[in-house]
């Protein structure tokens, strides 16, 4: 089926099988491998990206469902060689260990602040319930998002 999806500002006209998952589409068809596949069962959140501005689990969305939509992946956060403030906050606060969950955590963190710009620590923790860190490094991930919310680094 023919679809047209704008990913990181660039519109792609593609022909996909209806069963193609959005995560497969961005990784394999578009070569954007920053979005990871973790559990592949909509539990871990490693595949989180933004669909029309909101974090979704791209292992549980069909590419055809994204037809006509705006998609942002971790690769789309950098502008003019400058990291997104959330990426910067993760770097400054050591918000990652092995890094596997990080793209999903960053995308979930941005979505969280879009909906709740000034969250409490509890709200950040609840807001991240769909993202698992296999290093169990939650403390600094939460600190990173709080730092980003405060505008610090």
């Amino acid at each position: 089926m023919k679809i047209s999806v704008t990913v990181n500002g660039k519109t792609h006209e593609s022909d996909v099988e209806p069963r193609t998952l959005l995560v497969q589409y961005v990784r394999e068809d578009l070569g954007l491998t920053g979005t990871n596949i973790g559990c592949d069962t909509s539990s871990c959140g490693a595949c989180s990206l933004h669909l029309d501005g909101e974090a979704v689990k791209s292992c549980t969305v069909l590419a055809v469902q994204a037809d006509g939509s705006q998609v942002t992946t971790i690769e789309g956060l950098v502008t003019d060689g400058k990291m997104h403030p959330m990426q910067e906050a993760f770097m400054q606060n050591h918000g990652l260990q092995c890094g596997f969950c990080t793209p999903g955590m960053v995308m979930a963190g941005i979505s969280l602040l879009n909906e709740n710009p000034n969250p409490t620590e509890d709200e950040v923790r609840m807001g991240l319930e769909g993202n698992l860190c296999r290093c169990t490094g939650y403390h600094n991930i939460v600190q990173s998002i709080l730092a980003c919310a405060k505008g610090g680094k």
Binding site: E17, T41, S42, A55, T60, V61, L112, E129
Partner: protein, 274 residues
């Protein structure tokens, strides 16, 4: 994991969606947010040969005050139910339960109608709308009908919906200030409830429904009857599992579920009793 092959049809109206499933019969499934159906298809536990995508029927995504009840379009997402000022004001129990479904990413995609039509007794919204005395509006090839939540759930993932019928609206009576509580017991964030309870009490009545205490959501009418005859919360809660038939699984034995139901119903009623 990739689903098996299927044909994809995108409906541009409810009538077209119904005509498509009528054409393809039992082989077709509606796709709304996809957060119940796609995981099953990826595990190949479901393999419909045709998916009729109703996800773009924006006219079925709404929340309106209809006087004595709140009308919610079937394609309204959990996040929109959770954050709706109308729902929070008039049916706060439903807003709270919607905020317990999955996680934020799931709530950005999953819909109230999809969750109810999937009829999973372990899901939060079937039991919650059952406790609140909701009515479901369904549209089929031969017209529209209303099904009371009490008549809707027939068995494991089985509802009163006919293959050519689509759930279009959920009507939830206003709570009119009644006390309420939503209890969800699980071991891991974002998981399904091992046992859950949706309860309200006030204005001379009460409603208690149980999540994951059998093949269907369970309306614990014995509890409500006991409260109406003056029983204490503690005594009424002892009847929590009287009408339930829970199964044992990896998470909990049936006996443990019965224990949890009594404890959680007691906690819920204590919170709901003003």
């Amino acid at each position: 994991m990739i689903p098996s092959l299927f044909d994809y049809k995108r409906a541009s109206s409810a009538a077209e969606a119904i005509s498509l499933v009528t054409e393809y019969g039992d082989d077709a499934k509606f796709l709304a947010g996809g957060h119940s159906l796609l995981p099953l298809m990826k595990l190949r536990l479901a393999a419909p040969s045709v998916l009729v995508d109703i996800g773009r029927l924006k006219d079925l995504s709404y929340i309106t005050d209809a006087g004595s009840y709140i009308a919610i379009g079937a394609l309204t997402r959990h996040m929109d139910v959770e954050t709706s000022p109308i729902v929070k004001q008039h049916v706060p129990l439903l807003a709270c339960a919607a905020g317990h479904v999955g996680d934020p990413q799931v709530r950005h995609r999953g819909t109230i109608g999809g969750s109810i039509a999937h009829a999973d007794s372990a899901s939060d919204l079937p039991a919650t709308t059952l406790a609140l005395g909701a009515t479901y509006v369904v549209q089929g090839a031969s017209g529209t009908r209303e099904i009371a939540a009490t008549d809707f759930y027939k068995g494991f993932l089985e509802s009163a919906l006919q293959p050519d019928e689509m759930l279009t609206e959920i009507r939830v009576p206003k709570m009119n200030g009644a006390g309420w509580s939503f209890q969800k017991f699980n071991r891991r964030a974002q998981d399904w409830a091992i046992v859950g309870v949706a309860a309200w009490r006030g204005n001379g009545g009460s409603g208690v429904a149980l999540v994951n205490m059998g093949s269907t959501p369970v309306l614990a009418t014995d509890v409500a009857t006991a409260l109406a005859s003056g029983a204490s919360v503690a005594d009424a809660a002892e009847l929590a599992a009287a009408q339930a038939d829970p199964q044992s699984d990896l998470n909990a034995s049936a006996e443990y579920r019965v224990h949890l139901a009594k404890v959680l119903v007691r906690r819920a009623l204590e919170e709901a009793t003003k």
